[in-house]
Amino acid sequence: MSTSQTTTTEHHPALAHQFDDMAQQQEASTFGMWVFLLTEIMMFGGLFTAYLIYRLKYYDAFVGGSSSISIPWGFANTLVLIGSSFTMAMAVWAAQKGKRTAQVWFLIGTMVLGAAFLGVKAKEYYDKYDECHIPGHVIGKGFNAWGGCEAKNPKLGNIADEIRERDPKVPETSAVQTAKRTEIFFSFYFAMTGLHAFHMVIGLGLLGWLVMRARRSEFGPDYFTPVELGGLYWHFVDIVWIYLFPLLYLINRVGAKPL
C-alpha cells in the first residue's frame, strides 16, 4: 500500500486499490451489474419474442391454455413479489443509513416473500401436473388437454370442453384441435416461469449471503454496494414477472370473473 501521498492514506477497508475512492468504485460496480442485467434482458427477450410469434400464430390455443391457469394464485403471487421488491428497496435504504437490525430484517422479509412466491409456484405446477398439462410424455401421465386425464377434478384439465363452454358455436373437432395445440402454450409457460423461478432460487442464495454479511455489520453509509447490486438483481426478476403475469395468465379473460 502506498504511503507516500501527503493526503490521508486511511481508506475504507472495502476500497479496492484500482479505484480512486468509494464513489468511483460504486459507479463501476453499478455499471457492471447493469451490463450483466442487459444480457439477462436479451436472454428473457429471446423467450418473449418466441412467445409473441407463436401467440400470433396459435392465438386460440394460447387463450385456451391461458384460461386454464388460476388468476387468483397468479395475482396473489404478483403482489407477493412486488412486496418483496419493496422490502428489498427498504433493505438497501437501511444499509445506506447504517441501520443494521432493520437491514437484516428487511433482507429476511424479502427472503420469506421470495420463498412464498416459489411455494405458490410449486402448487401451480402441481395443479398442471395433475391436470395433464405438462408438455410431452415424460413427466406424469403425459400431455392431455382434451379429456381422459385422471385428475382429481377431470373437468379442470379439459380445455376442449372449456372452449365449447365459452363459445358453444365452436365445433367439437376444432375445440379438440385447439386443445391439442395448447401444448405449445404450456411449453412457453413452463420455460418462462421455470427460468424465472430459477432466477428466484439464485436470488434467495444471494439474499442469504447478504444477510450473513449484514449481520457482521459489513455495510454502512460508505459501503453498501453488494446490497445495492443484490437489489438490482431482485428488482430485475420482479420486472420479468410483471410482464409474465399478464402475458401468461390474462391473454383473453373477457367476460370472466376477475378474482
Binding site: 460504486q26 459507479e27 455499471f31 451490463v35 412486488i82
Partner: protein, 98 residues
C-alpha cells in the same frame, strides 16, 4: 456519490402502492371487452409498472448518465430483437387494421 441521494421510505411506499394498484387494474382490464386494445392495455400497464421499478426501486432516476445510457441501450436492443423478428407479422397486423 453525494448527489446519489436515494428515495425515502415514504416514496417507496407510494411506488409499491402504485404497483399494487396496477396489478389489480390489469386483472380487471383483462375481463373487459376492449378488442384489439386488450393486449395493448395489458402491456401499457406492465410497462408503466416496470418503469416505476426501474426509476425508483433500481435508483436509475438518481444514477449517473452512464447508467441511464446503459439501461436505455439495453431496452433499445430488446426493441430491435422483437421488432426485427416480427417483420413478417407487422405488415399483416397493419393489414388487419385497415
Amino acid at each position: 456519490m453525494a448527489e446519489h441521494s436515494h428515495p425515502t421510505p415514504k416514496l417507496y411506499a407510494v411506488i409499491v402502492s402504485c404497483l399494487f394498484a396496477g396489478t389489480i387494474l390489469t386483472v380487471f382490464a383483462a375481463t373487459w371487452e376492449l378488442h384489439i386494445f386488450n393486449p395493448i392495455v395489458a402491456l401499457v400497464i406492465a410497462t408503466t409498472k416496470a418503469t416505476l421499478v426501474i426509476l425508483y426501486f433500481m435508483h436509475v432516476r438518481y444514477s449517473s448518465r452512464l447508467t441511464k445510457l446503459t439501461v436505455a441501450a439495453g431496452f433499445f436492443w430488446l426493441l430491435i430483437l422483437i421488432s426485427l423478428s416480427l417483420t413478417d407479422y407487422i405488415p399483416r397486423i397493419l393489414q388487419l387494421l385497415r
